[in-house]
Assembly symmetry: C2
């Protein structure tokens, strides 16, 4: 399977949007540690099954989670690679900050870690 590394603006929007909710971050944590069915997840939160179902759908569209049928259940698993991609985007931003000093550093021969 070929995995596209580049994410479009819309995909990045969906990725960070999906992470901007405490329930969804918790679902990611749980399914990162071990797979779970949607109803198992739903049992963990004080909201309707349908609400949890929607949260899982948002995570799935953001590719933070995959859903696989198993009998009448849908097994949810987090995708650590997509989390890594989100992290990489932030690292890119931070590199932009470091680059701010690089030209001056070259001239003055200053330690870039300070």
């Amino acid at each position: 399977m070929v995995v596209r590394l580049e994410l479009s603006d819309g995909e990045v929007d969906r990725l960070f949007r999906a992470l901007a909710d405490a329930t969804r971050r918790d679902i990611v944590r749980r399914t990162l540690v071990g797979e779970a069915s949607v109803s198992e997840l739903a049992d963990a939160y004080d909201m309707s099954f349908a609400a949890v179902q929607k949260h899982v759908a948002v995570l799935e569209e953001a590719r933070l989670v995959t859903k696989e049928p198993r009998g009448r259940e849908r097994i949810v698993r987090a995708d650590p690679e997509q989390i890594g991609r989100a992290r990489a985007l932030l690292v890119q931003l931070e590199e932009l900050w470091h680059a701010r000093f690089s030209q001056l550093d070259a001239v003055l021969d200053v330690d870039p870690d300070t």
Copy 2:
């Protein structure tokens, strides 16, 4: 100045929410490379000044950006530390994944700071 490292759920929500918009990510990039006034930023986008003003406000509430008065202008600067905090949150998630395979599980489960 004391900086609180721990972010509440609501603060994390706002942080990722702020990053979930291409215009806002671009504002962060620009102000990370070099400070800019709100109107300088507004000139860069095909939307009203007020719209950009709102984006900057969202970034400010997420603490991704600070606004300092200078004469009649408001100078916007990105805060690399807050970006680092967002990155740290993702790293924490990824560590949860790695822990899945190691015996550190027991240790992490007992850690009172989580």
